[in-house]
């Protein structure tokens, strides 16, 4: 250990003087808090003190998460278009049965609230393809960025950059690219192709909704996977190289099993985020053509806010359904994380 000269008490440096002055308020605060906290500790016992420290966070969580959840549920069992709960008649589970009233659950057209079911099926399609390709592309990108390539730092920053953009900005950028007279169509026509009206075709619209969403969020998941790849001990790769193991076998037998916990986290996080998709796609496609890219959150927003009769009850019931789905996904994520910690 390097020898450090003793501090010169008579001639403190500028930094030491600043620290001495800056720490004054904290010392006063701690001094004021010490007495009541000691009294609390005597009263409750040291074992209960953690709850006291958790109290501010719990209060915050309660006010901004639990209370709105309860209010939302209360709305879902009421009817009418009044804003305040006490002005709304109680109607029990009517909103839920209205949502569930279907001749055939596989055919939205046979359901009374066909748009809710179209929203569900669109969301399932979106989640399936978006999560699968998001994980695949994030993995490939992380594997490439983990190698010693030229400009690695630049590429890491470039892939992460879209994550920093607001969803509305992302959607507007891509909208300008994809419109009838957008950059992409200008490029296509300049090389002799026909112009494509992307937002009029349901398949193209869904494709671009998925593509843009992957483009915007991939950097975040790539970062998680990159961290996982860098945590794999290099001596395992060295041993495999000495044994002459093929690259594919190294990937399947070393990289993938050791990265699996990170991959699971990425899958579950991407899944939760995909189910909540709204802002980007709403700005990009407006949910169209028809209802081809109208997802469940847009359905909730439209039902609750953009109709003349603001059907808060039906929107609340649909968001309870969405909440249950997200809760199950969160439980899966917790189980995965716990297994990872135990294993």
């Amino acid at each position: 250990m390097a020898h450090q000269p003793p501090a010169d008490i008579d001639n403190p440096t500028l930094g030491e003087r600043f620290n001495a002055v800056a720490s004054w308020p904290m010392r006063i605060l701690f001094g004021l808090l010490e007495t009541p906290f000691r009294a609390l500790q005597r009263l409750l016992g040291i074992g209960r003190m953690p709850y006291i420290f958790l109290l501010p966070n719990l209060a915050f969580f309660g006010i901004f998460v639990i209370v709105p959840l309860i209010i939302n549920f209360a709305f879902s069992v009421t009817g009418g278009d009044e804003l305040f709960l006490n002005d709304r008649p109680y109607i029990g589970g009517e909103q839920y049965s209205y949502l569930a009233d279907c001749g055939n659950y596989l055919d939205p057209q046979s359901c009374r609230e066909d748009r809710f079911w179209r929203g569900i099926y669109n969301t399932i399609t979106f989640v399936f393809f978006q999560v699968a390709f998001m994980v695949l592309f994030s993995l490939i990108t992380a594997l490439i960025l983990n190698r010693e390539i030229r400009g690695r730092g630049f590429f890491r920053a470039a892939f992460f950059f879209p994550v920093l953009l607001s969803p509305v900005v992302v959607a507007l950028i891509w909208k300008w690219i994809l419109l009838r007279d957008g950059v992409l169509n200008a490029g296509l026509t300049s090389i002799g192709f026909e112009r494509i009206l992307f937002f009029v075709d349901p398949t193209w619209s869904m494709f671009w909704a998925i593509f843009v969403s992957i483009w915007a969020h991939m950097g975040f998941y790539t970062l998680i996977l990159l961290a996982g790849l860098q945590a794999i001990p290099p001596d395992l790769y060295e041993a495999a190289e000495m044994d002459g193991t093929k690259r594919e076998r190294v990937f399947w037998r070393i990289t993938l099993p050791l990265l699996w916990p990170n991959l699971l986290v990425v899958i579950v996080l991407a899944l939760i985020k995909a189910v909540q998709i709204f802002d980007e796609v709403f700005v990009l496609t407006g949910g169209g053509p028809g209802t081809a890219t109208q997802f469940i959150v847009q359905y909730i927003y439209t039902t609750g806010f953009s109709n003349q009769v603001q059907n808060f009850g039906l929107a609340a019931a649909a968001s309870v359904v969405l909440g249950v789905v997200l809760f199950v996904l969160t439980l899966v994520q917790l189980a995965v994380t716990r297994r990872r910690e135990d294993g």
Binding site: I91, G286, Q294, Q308, N311, L314
Partner: protein
Amino acid sequence: MNSRLNRLLVLGTAAMGLMVSSALAETELRITWYNDGNEGEVMREILDRYEAANPDVKVTLDVVPYKAILESLPVQLAAGEGPDLARVTDLGGLSEHYMDLTPHISDAAYWETNFGPFLKWLRQPGDDSAISGFMTQLTVTGPYVNKTLFEQAGVDLPGDGATWDDWAVAVREVADKLEIPIPMAWDRSGHRVSGPAISMGAKMFDADGKPALVDDGLKAMAGKLYDWHQDGTMPKELWGSVSGSQYLGANEDFANAQVAMYMSGSWQIPQFADKIGDAFDWWAVPAPCGPAACTGMPGGAALVALKTSEHPEEVGKLMDYLSSEEVLNEFYGKTLFIPGHLGLAANGVEFQTDDPRAKHALETFAAAVPGISPTAFDLQGYVNNRVMFNALISRLGEAIVGELTLDEAYDRMTQDVEQQIAEKERGG
């Protein structure tokens, strides 16, 4: 030392007192406003003069996007957190939140005389006396054509009494000859479709006055719109590219000379005068005819006083000023809006434009007012008209892109209207 401290204390207290008293004396009125053109600037100039004459009142004009007027303002009002005044277009739908200005204005008879027919649009069902505001603009829906394109293509403009089919044939010919991408475009709006549907015979209400959106007249017009989207007369990018009741307009495409005929309304005049200028001849034409009428839809925006205001007296005084003939003459003249003041409509407004296209458009739309069908007025005055407009637009859009057949769309329109009105009635 003590005397200096005392002096400072006295001065400080006096300064504080002055600040508090001036803050107490100044009443702030807030207006939630949206812009189609330059009306925000014109209104600000007028309000500046009002503030100069009334130094104890400050009027803040909060300019918001139109979407906020439709979606955020109703929630604000329902929560009792609204502004003092607002410029709204859902005239009847928000009527429960309007303040009755009658006790706070100087001459209720002046309002009845000059705004009478439009005051009805702002009243709740069963109310025949409340005065809540005035029309900042009266609008009439109707088509614009790019006359220059017609001339270049050698196609005559269909004359008076021409039907929608006549126009469809003409615009297709123009588009084919000049290879322009959009022969005809309509705003994606139920309000825009309603006039032509009424021309085709749509009644909109049953014998008991209850909404009855789908009938043979509406089917006739909806069928045409559907066909025009399939044969390329209309682009699917407007009606087919978004979901639900979202509004999309083709004003920019029209201003860029990409459209031969554009079905919109009189509120586009200031914008076209500004954006297009003399780049080409943009011409407003009379509403095409159907077997029942040749009508557009009336409508417009109103400046209304709101119950949420804590200063009804000051609001009344401000509304007296803003609704005066002199101020409105200036407002309509500078904004190129069709007047919603009967006296000014009769005497004529001095529109401040040298643009012959804008003048022609104003004359065309003003001339259309007497020919507006009574059904169109009834529909505009119906408090739940947006329920009908939204059902029409969203379901027809789904049919146009092939998600529903036209018959399925009609069934869904009826179901949507019934369900939403039942939901509203359930709340009392």
